[in-house]
Symmetry: C2
Subunit: 654 residues, 2 copies
């Protein structure tokens, strides 16, 4: 997670991250509430799991403190590092101390080889095999996560001793990488990108140029087939085309996104406009033909990879949590580099859908894969496609990834410097930039109103930039009680004035429920619509069907696009639901295939079912769910104005 601005700002950086202490999210708000839940439930759960599953023991056997067998995946150390990173962000966020942080920092220092190497899979049982299988070993991937934990400790943690230990451990490992794989060393790369972005972060922290150079070198070495075929061919690990020449998002989705994040980091710090343009190009290519409505990416279970353009099945969506987090990370970096509102747009979409859906309401269970449909009769018996979230996974990369994102979430809400503040994510809380502080009061995304009060000022004019989401067609603004003209440029409302304490801005982002269709090339959801309100995608879940309907009726639901959607107050689970008028299709003849018969004009809806936010699905009894709802055929045609009576349709709404 990119924290404070680079010590040597590049001409390619447009926006500037704020210090971690500059933003505080209120626990009463949704985002602040997520941070609280992360602190009180998810993070302790992760700490407990890496104990119970032997990840910590793996490191203690390196130090000789325990005598156990190695447990888990060969990259099991990364579950520890990511949890450690989350703890580091968390102690920074709330100012507390952490015995875990202290203990693990000491453990890692003790476990590290004198030459800087650190990897519990290799240090005891396979001492002569280090670096021999970089396509699969994840050794540099592991080093990268270690480095990111150290950077988080340095930026966030209150415990300087532990932070100092971790940074020293990270630097020794990074120095080893530079010695071994630097310009005088082997020309090789890790099958799983991660170390690139980590090394740039370490460079930002230390100012030590070789770390940046090494990250760039790894990027340059990739894309020429050095990794060979592996199990899935060179595209899987983005080794068939150099990134500067890529024009398509390919292969394993997490690898692709981590690679892009590293590419933007290197580009920004080295002023490499061509590399930045390539990263933008690839990221956009994913966005325009290989991304789910939830922001999720990865259409294929077999190799956790992107599919062909427009290959986006909702039921077999892989949409790995780590890929959504990776996309968020790349988007953040691109936002900083370019200021482009589309990147903040995607961060928001991911946050409220693909990412939020990954954690159960109690914070202690997670989805690895995030499908947009679960069928009646679904086989949820295997951890690859469970019907509900699980407490852990044999490959446990997702939960600690969620934990570290949530612990640092406040760092992504806004950017700013002496010239102004840019608010990208709306959440109750306070934000400070260059001596100016604003207090944000809102119940976003449930409520359309955002109230911003300037509580601290400094001399001179200052621009407050407020993002207006692309889905929003009706924006209203008032400053100190008076309606103000709405002038949205490149996705932001910019208010430049010499602010005074107590100045108040009221923003209203109208969020009527809307129907969404996919590009016609997305065959998998042809003839279906999805529902959204504001940034939140909604879904139907079996638990909300009237109990009078029988077992397979969920599969026979059809939506009448001419009947209005109605916003409703939800219950404990969902603050806002959307009442959806539906019909139940007459049970079709048994035949799987039969003569085509043009659809009859549909009848009137016979029931209303409350759609809930997609991110809240699978928190009640297990059962089918769908984001994409078949449209009842042969229904009302649009009127002369192209509007379908009764529906509020936004022109190009997302």
């Amino acid at each position: 997670m990119t924290g404070p601005a680079a010590p040597t700002p590049s001409a390619l950086a447009t926006l500037h991250p704020l210090p971690l202490s500059a933003v505080r999210l209120h626990p009463d708000g949704l985002l602040g509430g997520w941070q609280e839940r992360n602190a009180t439930a998810t993070l302790p759960h992760c700490v407990d799991r890496i104990g119970a599953h032997g990840n910590l023991a793996n490191l203690r056997r390196v130090t000789g403190d325990v005598d156990t067998e190695f447990a888990g995946m060969w990259f099991a150390d990364t579950d520890v590092y990511k949890t450690l990173e989350a703890v580091a962000w968390e102690t920074g966020r709330t100012g507390g101390s952490s015995e875990f942080l202290t203990d693990v920092a000491a453990l890692l220092e003790k476990a590290q080889e004198p030459d800087g190497y650190l990897n519990s899979y290799y240090q005891v049982d396979r001492r002569d095999q280090r670096w021999t299988d970089l396509g699969f070993s994840h050794e540099m991937y592991s080093a990268g996560h270690l480095v990111q934990a150290a950077v988080a400790a340095a930026r966030g943690a209150a415990d300087d001793l532990a932070a100092g230990q971790l940074v020293a451990v990270a630097r020794r490992f990074a120095d080893l990488l530079v010695r071994r794989f630097g310009p005088a060393g082997a020309e090789t790369i890790d099958g799983h990108p991660e170390v690139e972005t980590a090394l740039v972060e370490l460079y930002r922290l230390t100012g030590h140029r070789p770390y940046l150079d090494q990250a760039r070198r790894f990027l340059d070495l990739r894309g020429h087939g050095r990794l060979g075929e592996g199990r899935f061919g060179p595209r899987y690990w983005q080794d068939d085309t150099p990134i500067r020449e890529q024009d398509e998002a390919v292969g394993h989705a997490v690898r692709q996104q981590y690679l892009l994040a590293g590419a933007v980091d290197v580009a920004v710090e080295t002023g490499d406009a061509g590399l930045l343009a390539a990263a933008e190009r690839v990221w956009r290519a994913a966005l325009t033909s290989k991304t789910y409505l939830t922001g999720g990416q990865g259409s294929r279970h077999k190799d956790e990879s992107f599919g062909d353009p427009y290959e986006l099945p909702p039921d077999r969506a892989y949409a790995e949590t780590c890929a959504a987090i990776g996309s968020f990370q790349t988007a953040w970096r691109l936002l900083l580099a370019t200021g482009g509102s589309g990147y903040a747009e995607e961060m928001e979409r991911l946050l409220y859908n693909g990412i939020a859906a990954s954690t159960a309401v109690d914070g202690r269970a997670f989805f690895y894969s995030n499908p947009l449909q679960l069928r009646t009769g679904h086989d949820g018996s295997h951890e690859d496609t469970p019907s509900q979230r699980l407490g852990w996974y044999s490959c446990a990369c997702c939960p600690p990834n969620l934990a570290r994102l949530m612990a640092s979430l406040h760092a992504y809400a806004a950017t700013g410097d002496a010239r102004g503040m840019q608010i990208h994510l709306y959440a109750a809380g306070t934000i400070t930039a260059a001596g100016r502080t604003v207090q944000v009061r809102t119940d976003y995304p449930w409520d359309e109103r955002i109230s911003i009060t300037v509580t601290e000022v400094a001399d001179g004019p200052w621009t407050l930039a407020l993002r207006v989401p692309a889905w929003c067609r009706d924006v209203r603004l008032a400053v100190n009680g008076s309606p103000a003209r709405v002038d949205v440029r490149e996705g932001y409302l910019r208010l430049t004035r010499s602010w005074r304490g107590g100045d108040q801005v009221e923003l209203v982002l109208a969020m009527p429920p809307r129907l969404i269709a996919a590009h016609p090339r997305v065959d998998a959801v042809r003839g279906s619509v999805a529902i959204a309100r504001g940034p939140v995608v909604y879904c139907l879940e079996h638990a909300d069907l009237p109990v009078t309907l029988d077992g397979t009726s969920f599969e026979e639901l059809e939506l009448d696009p001419a009947s209005p959607l109605a916003v409703a107050t939800g219950d404990d689970l969902a603050p806002v639901t959307i009442d959806v008028p539906l019909r139940v299709r007459t049970a079709s003849a048994d035949a799987l295939y039969s003569a085509y018969v043009p659809a009859e004009r549909g009848g009137t809806p016979s029931l209303t079912v409350p759609a809930i936010p997609y991110f809240l699905w699978a928190n009640r009894e297990p059962g089918p769910m769908r984001v994409w709802i078949p449209v009842a055929a042969g229904n009302a045609l649009p009127d002369a104005h192209g509007k379908v009576r009764g529906t509020t349709v936004s022109r190009d709404g997302r």
Copy 2:
């Protein structure tokens, strides 16, 4: 391949297979032509590949005749056995001899351990590991294919010496299985069913009851979790539910079908009505919710498995060739057991679509996975999803499976005994049953006419039963030039008379092109139609688009269901094509997701593209293909009679 009738016919057998010599398919006909191509191209190709890829060398290193490393998959022996089986059927079919058969029979006899064990993966390098990993080892699967090769040699081959050797080898291995895994032995099963059907075939050949008992024992032991979790959970290898209690087709599609085939074999020979009913139930469950229009099965690449009910994506259809062959095998056995026309129906559908598509027109390249859609921009770089057929695969199970099916294809065309003959598959050729011979002249499936001449008769009345496919809505019959009443009962026209030499039956199965829709629960092809004529499913291929259309236009094609389809004479590739009126959708706005807008009434079609038989796709330059074509929205509604003007629509046509 079940050949001659069981020595002790069970009350559960309804139809009787004919001796291999009883049916000869004319090479001028499509099916006979496939057999010729198999003999002259495919089979020599397989023989060549198992030499070049080291499969034969694996066995020669067991005998000490070569000193090489083991090559290929751990079940590489089965490529040899299946090729051998094909060669055995082929020598029986054409009466020739085969050096390959002679040599390999001698090689296997020499390689076999004294106790009967034979497996080149274990006999040299892992002598102490046999039987230690039956979930994954495929040791019994391998034995099963060896046994089937021996049975084929005994039934078909002209070379009695080689056949004798092979049967002896097979019996020694089968006796070992009985000793080790019989009632006094270990309670264990192989992760991949196959040995069950093979042991029943060996029982049919030899009359040795313990082989049948062992097959039944393996079935009984399965379904109780003995194999553990493996990689994909117990459903993958059908070990979570005993087959007698199964009501859903689950897991790896080939394993499921091979298991079902074995179950029907055991049921028929032991008179186990409950087991037969279970096999029927599971096979039908697959048919009604988990089978592609081509007959293909397996919706998931990751574990080559069935998906959830109605989860049938055309693009990511796995539809493994071996699964289609397995379904064909099970259907054949159920046809023999029950006489149900639906089984012959499915055999035909598989043969002309899912199975036929697997082989290139030149007979030397194959599809492993048989998708129903290939997109523009498809990544065909990996053997998992190539854009064209490949000469071989790292797992080469499919080509030899095709070879052995094609070499014995004539055995499936008809059944019969002294009471009558039942013709299930129409093909030019001659068929003899109980002293009566008929000559079939037809250009089916291109031509609707089938002409049957009785050329040999015997005393007494005799019933000629002719299958009338369910897709056929208009059947005409003439006997000796006079129109006859068409009386179809349970899928067959039955003509009972005292036939005289020269008697002629003319059958006309009208086959206008028809549009097919899927059950509405098949989300993946909602709003699309497929085209078929007779048993043949058709597709659009990029190669047939006018060159004036640009690169992505294939993805924008829409069909107008109100415009008529027209049959046309094809070219070298396809004897009959179907002209499909299409529109090219206005290039949609770039946005992947946008506001739902009800579809406008479509315009008139602007071009006609010839659809070709799906089984002939991917024989020209690589490019996109689709079976399911989006229907242009908002088009003509049906008239008062429920008919859409201009289209011949069959009521429930398949």
